[in-house]
């Protein structure tokens, strides 16, 4: 089963090499591709220097567009599994095998890694945790399914989901909305407990003011998804 790790990267010059090394070391049979979202720092030249596989976007598309580029590439190349993986060092490559085995064994369509299933490791900051709980409750209310970490950036999908996402994927703050889409299609979505690290270098792309906008926009987007399901 061909598997690929999709690493969206925007200004991750300091951590991108270590991230790829982590993957090559702990999951050598996984292919990978870095999607450089038109970084303004030296991310691209660092990647070229170390001969990393890079999809270099000529314009900045944001996290949704960058990840979707990876999905489109994975689908065209015939991959069976694709996993999204952060380029900032928060994710641990040792889970890649375990997640894929779990997916195959339990016939899961989408496996989301969750920091909050066993509550170990870096549990994110207060404001983020509040946002995460909010979406967790919202999703439970609207779809009936409990997702403890709806904003998690390490998610593994199978080819069916890959086809869907290649065609349509939210452009910004895509994680909660895209989960709702998949749940509404009656696909099997499960979570896998992981420990995540604190961000290695650089800063997160979401500021406090943006967080408020994020919550409003994603709430609206999820409500629209539900409208789509009940077809008005």
């Amino acid at each position: 089963m061909k598997s690929i790790v999709i690493i969206p990267a925007y200004n991750e010059e300091k951590s991108i090499v270590k991230t790829v090394q982590d993957i090559c070391e702990h999951a050598p049979e996984f292919d990978y591709v870095v999607v450089n979202d038109c970084s303004t720092d030296h991310t691209l030249s660092v990647c070229r220097e170390h001969h990393l596989h890079v999809l270099n976007l000529p314009i900045n598309l944001g996290i949704g567009g960058a990840v979707q580029t990876g999905f489109l590439y994975a689908y065209k190349k015939g991959y069976d599994f694709a996993i999204q993986f952060d380029g900032d060092g928060q994710h641990d490559a040792k889970y890649l095998h375990k997640m894929r085995d779990y997916m195959i064994e339990h016939d899961v369509d989408m496996l989301i890694s969750s920091r909050f299933l066993e509550k170990e490791g870096f549990q994110s900051t207060g404001m983020r945790r509040f946002g995460i709980r909010y979406f967790s409750i919202l999703i439970k209310l609207l779809t009936g399914q409990k997702i403890t970490d709806p904003t998690s950036g390490m998610r593994m999908i199978n080819r069916d989901i890959l086809a869907m996402y290649s065609e349509s994927y939210p452009k910004d703050y895509p994680e909660p909305e895209s989960v709702v889409t998949i749940i509404n299609c009656k696909k099997k979505v499960m979570e896998y407990p992981v420990i995540m690290r604190k961000r290695m270098e650089g800063t997160s792309s979401i500021s406090p003011l943006k967080s408020v906008y994020y919550m409003i926009k994603v709430t609206l987007a999820i409500l629209f998804e539900m409208l789509r399901k009940y077809g008005t």
Binding site: P58, I59, S168, K171, D172, K217, L220, F224, L227
Partner: protein
């Protein structure tokens, strides 16, 4: 403000809101772009239901009739929106330029390997000259 005007504004605002929702569902419009219009509609509806707000504000600003205040506010909001769209269009033209250039360079690379690709370009180029 006459009752008829208020009802008309509310009805048209709701119709606009329904249309906006429909466009979002057809994926013809992104939610972030629609938020402005939803706020706009909300303001019009609130002012139509509570025209006293418009009357108080009109008095403070020295405007004769509250209706004029609403028109002024709407024109101002539209100007802001149109201006920000000019900025957005400029950004989009810039991005399209980049994509066009990258495409041209990439096509040259693939045409060097497979000359049949340039056939489609010849037909397209001669059509667009009309």
């Amino acid at each position: 403000m006459s009752l008829y005007l208020r009802i008309l504004l509310i009805v048209m605002s709701l119709a606009a809101a329904v249309y906006a929702v429909h466009q979002i569902r057809k994926s013809q419009m992104k939610i972030e772009n629609a938020i402005y219009w939803f706020m706009f509609i909300l303001i019009v509806v609130v002012l139509s239901i509570f025209p006293e707000l418009a009357m108080i504000l009109a008095r403070i600003l020295g405007i004769e009739s509250p209706v004029n205040l609403i028109y002024l506010a709407m024109i101002f909001l539209l100007l802001v929106k149109v201006f920000s769209q000019s900025i957005k269009i400029s950004q989009m033209e810039y991005k399209i330029g980049i994509l066009a250039q990258e495409t041209a360079i990439m096509k040259m690379k693939t045409e060097e390997k497979d000359p049949k690709d340039s056939e489609r370009d010849k037909n397209r180029n001669s059509d667009s000259k009309e």
